[in-house]
Amino acid sequence: MAQELAPIAVKENASVELLTCRIGDQWVGFRVQQVREVVNRQRRTQMPMAPEAVAGLINLRGKVITELEVRRVVGLPDRDEDAPFHVAIVETLSGEDFGLIVDDIGEVIVLNEDLFESTPRSLDDVWRQVSDGVLKQENRVLLLMNVDRFIGLTIPNAAAPNTKEITLH
């Protein structure tokens, strides 16, 4: 099911390759280096008492990955039961991979990083927290997503120290 991302030959200084995704009406860009792959609907296991942002766990070729519902984090209503969606498997600085559920996947674009402007104040609060900048395009505003900060938002009691270690390997 994996939709392979075409490798892009253009490599300029200060250029970024972004995978664009849509959540509600908002288009966001993930840095391609952070996106492992994009998959479609997987069999999902809901986890009782999990934080709200967690949609469940999926089995990605033997790896257990936490799926996060981006819509819930940014305060959008849940999508319809049978509405299509995609899951971008992203990797974070901590080394853990997450599946981010998005409504649609766009193209991979190569841009000069200088083109990005700082995030405007008018943007929704959650979006602003996870944005590294915006790019105003003809008919849309593309938001450069900071994946690590996004994940940070979804973790309950992020401030509280990790009381429990991962003990089982």
Binding site: T45, M49, P51, V64, T154, I155, P156, T167, L168, H169
Partner: protein, 964 residues
């Protein structure tokens, strides 16, 4: 330095030294064991030999000094004493320390061991002196000189000897070949010294040539002393081949031919390996642990893939596929098993240090302690072994330090003077059970209890009912164990919480048991391996979960029709072999559904100090699962232990039973259940009453349990609004809801409609009412000692419970305000006396509130004999008795009562959990111990019946039932 070579050296040296402590200690007990001494000598000797090769001078000096001493002991057949063994142990420690430093940094650590070396040398001379004094054959020293040549340099200062050793001039031959010029150049040797030394050396070399013949003869007879020699000689070889050859002539006629020595000098050639190591070790290969871990992961994946493959194959129905599938299945299984074995190490690897620890502590505290070990070859995953090391050491230290009593006390107690520490490890279906027991003074549970009370980790109520065994487990509580006092009084203590944490971290559990004066034993249960565990797969609301088999004790089928279900204050319990098991309703706990009649299957989980049941819908069976860690989003949910992927590819969560246990509500009651058969008390309860403490906002209230029938935790939406106020549908009735916050005029405090709400179901005379409160804190037994009366009619006044001022709710007033007609019906059951005979404290706690709610004056007795005593001076209106009791059972009691003239006509009612009883005729009635409601109804009926009978029969003369 050649890294690879160094690695080889470290591994080999550590292997050699691993056993040395044990051997030294054995030597202490059997100082005349020549073979043992040889083996110790060889270990040190090999280290020393390799040192020269790798140019590790510090290490060489320490090893050399140790070797010399050992050689002396060996050659003189000197019988070692404790002090010499201590010194040698110290030497071994120093070597290990140097090796560790070397392993960490790749460089020889700069540690000064000259003091130790000095002492070793002094000791060596002492051994020699002793020997000479004893007049033993002095010519033997010649043999020893083969190993310790500088010993013949008598009359020189230690500094000179040191300098020579430093300069690697260890034999007369070394010195001769170095020559005068070189000798003179060594600090602090003067020219005179150099000349003298050279002279002595030359004179010395002549002597050994005679010795050589001797040795040669000995060698031909297969003598041992030759065997040790090759290594230092060959090690030296790379330094100076010429020297090596001289040495070969001098010291070692039977050493390998020069060709082999050259090979050694030329570093790591196979020939050198062969020469250095015994043939047996060639059969094994050293593999990086990281690689094994990686392999393990891969096999884990393979197991999962195999599982899905097998499902697909069996769905295909093709015989051909099935055959191949079976093969794949078997091969995978074997692969997994064998790979697991590669990670396994015998527990011996961590136990080997135990005798040393025990010996050291014993010496320090002047205690004699012997260690008995059983099952040392039991194998465990190395990760787990590593994790166990520290807790184990800690436990053992505690046992020696605080457990085993000092000499004089042991003598006083007529125990053997030598204490015993017993370690055993056995494999038990996928788990290892490690027991560490001592025959020391044991731990006083009462002191632990006292301490826990002071620390606030135990309430008075809990303390009263907790069993000694359960109290002992408190030692694992953090606050408690770090308290010094516990250590002083009872032994164990410091850091026991860490012990438990460490053990639980690798999925194990620990349990303590102790008999005062007899000893203490700790049981550690630990899984064989962490990567793949056996788990019970259960179902709950269309979802599957895994419960580690480690914690599963048994499985029960418990349909809602089962007679073993009990509901106590809304919390389900299941009667299992006479004990009440607190039940965690998985469905409810995980917010799947609310309060339903409990039904399904129960997984009985045992987590060391506690047993509870997990109620699930379905049990699918046991499966081998590969544990995968859960992500960062689940770290705060301590009831999850990980996840796994089942054969059909679905991810399921794995529970952590320790976490689940903390979700069991009303653990006070659970404790009571645990102590069902323990802790008897009897006598007049006086003013003591059961009461429920709850909070409304920041305020604390207490309400007598008299009218409280049940405690419910409901969703806020369950309360419906009607024209006449709020109501709740409850057990097929519509009952009035009162909100305590509204009554107080401070609001209900509930905004979230999905929030859970605590509701006290008040019941009296068949009527019910619901009182909603913010939060329920506890159920306690208190005497309502009103300190300050209240102006507010809702309160009786203020009392002090658990050192906190608490308002006592006048429940009658509350009910009356809501429903003035509530108490309208005549209540004529006041102030009647009842004797309640029951051995199980749990049931006493259960029944007494019911009796209190019926306004009885209650006396209790814990068995028939006690009841008889009470009845000699007390005439109750009703006797309620259990049947199964110690000392005198219900039948005997009833028989006895029927024979007492002054007790004629008093109804004796049996309260029993049995369905049928043997001799019903002895009793006025039989009530089953089911729920409190039934009990109340039955008692009311019986009283009514007997009231009538008594009036008709005797007209109130013989046994007047007084109406209050």
């Amino acid at each position: 330095m050649d890294e690879e070579l160094l690695g080889e050296f470290l591994t080999e040296s550590n292997e050699n030294l691993d056993s040395i402590e044990q051997q030294l200690m054995n030597l202490e007990t059997n100082p005349d064991d020549a073979e043992l001494l040889d083996s110790i000598f060889r270990a040190i000797h090999t280290v020393k030999g390799s040192c020269g090769f790798l140019n590790l001078t510090n290490l060489e000096r320490v090893a050399h000094a140790g070797e010399n001493l050992l050689s002396r002991i060996r050659s003189l057949k000197f019988l070692v004493n404790e002090d010499i063994v201590s010194l040698l142990l110290e030497c071994a420690d120093a070597i290990k320390q140097l090796l560790e430093g070397l392993a960490d940094t790749g460089q020889e650590p700069n540690l000064d061991h000259s003091d130790l070396i000095g002492r070793l040398q002094v000791c060596e001379r002492f051994v020699m002196g002793e020997d000479v004094a004893q007049g033993e054959a002095p010519e033997k020293s010649g043999e020893a000189e083969l190993v310790e040549p500088l010993a013949w340099l008598v009359g020189f200062e230690d500094a000179v000897i040191h300098a020579l050793i430093q300069a690697e001039m260890l034999t007369a031959a070394d010195i001769i070949s170095a020559g005068f010029a070189k000798l003179k150049g060594i600090e602090p040797l003067t020219s005179a010294d150099a000349l003298k030394i050279l002279g002595v050396a030359k004179g010395h070399v002549d002597k050994p040539s005679v010795e050589t013949d001797k040795t040669e003869q000995a060698a031909q007879q297969g003598q041992v002393s030759v065997e040790e020699e090759p290594t230092p000689a060959s090690a030296k070889a790379d330094k100076n081949e010429q020297v090596a050859e001289v040495k070969a002539e001098v010291a070692k006629p039977s050493s390998p031919p020069p060709a082999a020595k050259k090979a050694v000098a030329g570093n790591d050639s196979p020939a050198a390996q062969q020469a250095k190591r015994p043939a047996a070790s060639n059969a094994s290969v050293r593999v990086d642990v990281g690689l094994l871990d990686e392999l393990m992961n891969q096999v884990g994946e393979l197991v999962l893939t195999r599982n899905s493959l097998m499902q697909m194959i069996s769905a295909s129905g093709s015989m051909e596929f099935m055959r191949v599938g079976r093969d794949v299945d078997q091969i995978t299984e074997q692969l997994q098993e064998q790979l697991l074995r590669t990670r396994m190490q015998p527990i011996q690897t961590i136990w080997s240090s135990v005798p040393r620890i025990v010996r050291d502590i014993g010496k320090q505290l002047d205690k004699k302690i012997k260690v008995i070990m059983e099952g040392e070859d039991t194998e465990l995953d190395r990760t787990i072994l590593n994790a166990l090391k520290d807790p184990l050491t800690h436990i053992i230290r505690n046992s020696c330090d605080h457990g085993i009593e000092p000499h004089h006390i042991r003598v006083q107690q007529k125990k053997p003077v030598e204490g015993t520490l017993h370690l055993s490890a056995i494999q038990e279906s996928g788990f290892i059970l490690i027991t560490i027991s001592d025959d020391g003074g044991g731990i006083d549970a009462d002191i632990i209890k006292e301490k826990a009370l002071k620390m606030g980790s135990l309430t008075e109520e809990q303390a009263a009912v907790i069993s000694p065994k359960a109290a002992l487990q408190l030692i694992f509580n953090a606050g408690l164990s770090t308290a010094e006092k516990v250590t002083n009084f009872s032994g164990r203590g410091v850091g026991m919480d860490v012990v438990r944490t460490e053990i639980e971290r690798v999925g194990g559990s620990v349990d303590i048991d102790s008999t005062l004066g007899r000893g203490t034993s700790l049981k550690i249960r630990i899984p064989l391996t962490l990567a793949i565990i056996s788990a019970m797969v259960v179902g709950c609301k269309n979802q599957r979960f895994a419960i580690p088999q480690m914690s599963v004790r048994e499985l029960l089928s418990a349909p809602d029709s089962s007679e073993e279900w009990r509901l106590i204050a809304g919390q389900p319990f299941y009667r299992l072999r006479g004990k009440l098991l607190p039940i965690l309703r998985l469905k409810e706990a995980l917010l799947f559904a609310e309060d339903e009649k409990p039904s399904g299957s129960i997984v009985v989980a045992d987590i060391g100090d506690r047993t509870f049941g997990i109620l699930v819908d379905q049990i699918f069976g046991a499966e081998e699962i590969v544990v995968k860690p859960l992500g960062v989003h689940f770290q705060h949910l301590n009831f999850y232990g990980g996840s796994t992927i089942l054969g059909d590819g679905v991810v399921i969560p794995i529970f952590d039973c320790n976490g689940l246990a903390s979700m069991v509500k009303l653990s006070t009651e659970a404790e009571v259940a645990k102590d069902y058969n323990q802790g008897n008390e009897e006598g007049d309860l006086g003013e003591q009453q059961h009461a429920l403490i709850f909070m409304q906002g920041e305020q604390r209230f207490v309400i007598p349990m008299t009218l409280v029938e049940r405690l419910e935790c409901l969703e806020a939406t369950r309360i419906e609004k009607t024209a006449s106020g709020e109501v709740l549908q409850y057990r097929g009735e519509v009952i009035r809801v009162l909100r305590w916050g509204d009554l107080l005029g401070i609001g209900s405090g509930i905004d979230d409609p999905t929030a859970q709400m605590y509701c006290l179901i008040l019941s009296d005379g068949g009527k019910r009412m619901c009182l909603q409160v913010d939060q329920v804190i506890d159920i306690v037994e208190v005497s309502f000692d009103i300190k300050r009366p209240s102006d507010n009619p809702l309160f009786l006044g203020t009392t002090v419970i658990q050192d906190i001022a608490t308002e006592v709710v006048d429940v009658f007033e509350v009910v009356q305000q809501a429903d003035p007609n509530w108490f309208a019906q005549p209540n004529d059951m006041k102030k009647r006396k009842i004797l309640f005979v029951e051995d199980a404290q749990f049931f006493r706690h259960l029944v007494i509130p019911v009796l209190e709610s019926m306004n009885f004056s209650i006396k209790t007795a814990s068995d028939g004999v006690k009841a008889c005593e009470i009845l000699n001076s007390y005439q109750p209106d009703l006797i309620l008795t259990d049947i199964e009791m110690p000392n005198m059972n219900g039948y005997q009691l009833a028989q006895w009562i029927s024979e007492q003239p002054n007790l004629q006509g008093i109804p004796v009612v049996a309260l029993t959990a049995q369905n049928e009883i043997d001799d019903e005729s002895l009793f006025s009635d039989v009530i089953s111990k089911l729920d409190s409601q039934e009990l109340a109804e039955h008692l009311t009926k019986i009283l009514q019946r007997f009231d009538i009978i008594s009036e008709q029969e005797i007209g109130g003369t013989n046994h007047a039932i007084t109406f209050g």
